[in-house]
Symmetry: C2
Subunit: 213 residues, 2 copies
Amino acid sequence: MFITLEGIEGSGKTTLVQSVVSHCHGIGRDCIATREPGGTPIGEKIRSILLDPRHSAMDPIAEMLLYMADRVQHIRQIIQPALREGKVVVCDRYVDATIVYQGVARGLKPETVIGLHNSLLGGLWPDITLLLDLPPRQGLQRAWRQIDDGERGSEESRFEKETMDFHSKIREGYLARAMAEPNRFRVVNAALPQQEVEAEVVRMVSEALPPDP
Amino acid sequence: MFITLEGIEGSGKTTLVQSVVSHCHGIGRDCIATREPGGTPIGEKIRSILLDPRHSAMDPIAEMLLYMADRVQHIRQIIQPALREGKVVVCDRYVDATIVYQGVARGLKPETVIGLHNSLLGGLWPDITLLLDLPPRQGLQRAWRQIDDGERGSEESRFEKETMDFHSKIREGYLARAMAEPNRFRVVNAALPQQEVEAEVVRMVSEALPPDP
């Protein structure tokens, strides 16, 4: 079972990954949490290039290729081995993030990203994807508050520095993905109070989890 | 005019890039030297991931994507602007290195690399490519001697650590590229004494350089 969480900055993905993992452990399921970019030692170095706010000159295609390099390393080294061992894998961002950030918002086209994911990266798609949806203004305010409170490194600011228009494109892009693949996506209203969002996410995962093999 | 130098480790590319640049400056041509991976601030960080000898777990597709990310950044930020200004660009390794190292030696197929270079990276090919050909044993001995003498950082050892079989595949792969594109490639016998190699390289570049625009 491969579960991904997606959403704009400040949508609460990182916290909710932990909620899903706790739920899985609570019902006795072997489960790992991981994230993109990052998740492997090589990936963490790629992450630091991608998120460095000094890299404003990064070409969109270079950006997409770096996300894909990180992803293929992550798939081969972490995700596939865990799935083969029957574990539940919960991943903070995955291919849909590249489809939406680089394909939609940077204008490289969703089909380009989807085509390369299938042809070059082996086409591993999640079983379910939880889309944490909320207005960009609300998400960014939350992300900024976390930076102020020291709960979030300021490293992530290359994307947080983007305009509100960019973040609106991301939200619309994600909602379009959910419409295009309704069987895989579950849209969560992440503007609700934290506890309600968590309960909803856990309910959705419970429903989707197949019985322990 | 876009000139690339290719060859196995220790074939003398770095020194000969400088010879070509000196020759161009000597005849009054505006000229820049650059290299891959690297050549841009983002590229230098990608280079350090690619060449780090601790990264033995790197997936071949991740490796290819990192080279391509570096290349597209390099093309957009350095190579194309210089060519547009009428400069001669002399580059230490370029797309043929990816075709041979990842496409041939790592088994990803030359067509995959060529296809992505054309479709995703805009298909910028060099005007001439100087292939510095010599037996791998001789090249590696030279590279190791340079490391011992402190003339070469030991950073490059992820590829230098490969087996002799790997380096033989690289040499054969490069010679196959030269056969496939005889108009673009010039094969130089890099096993000759340094001065003769340099004279040959300068002669080939002189012949190929169009008159100053």
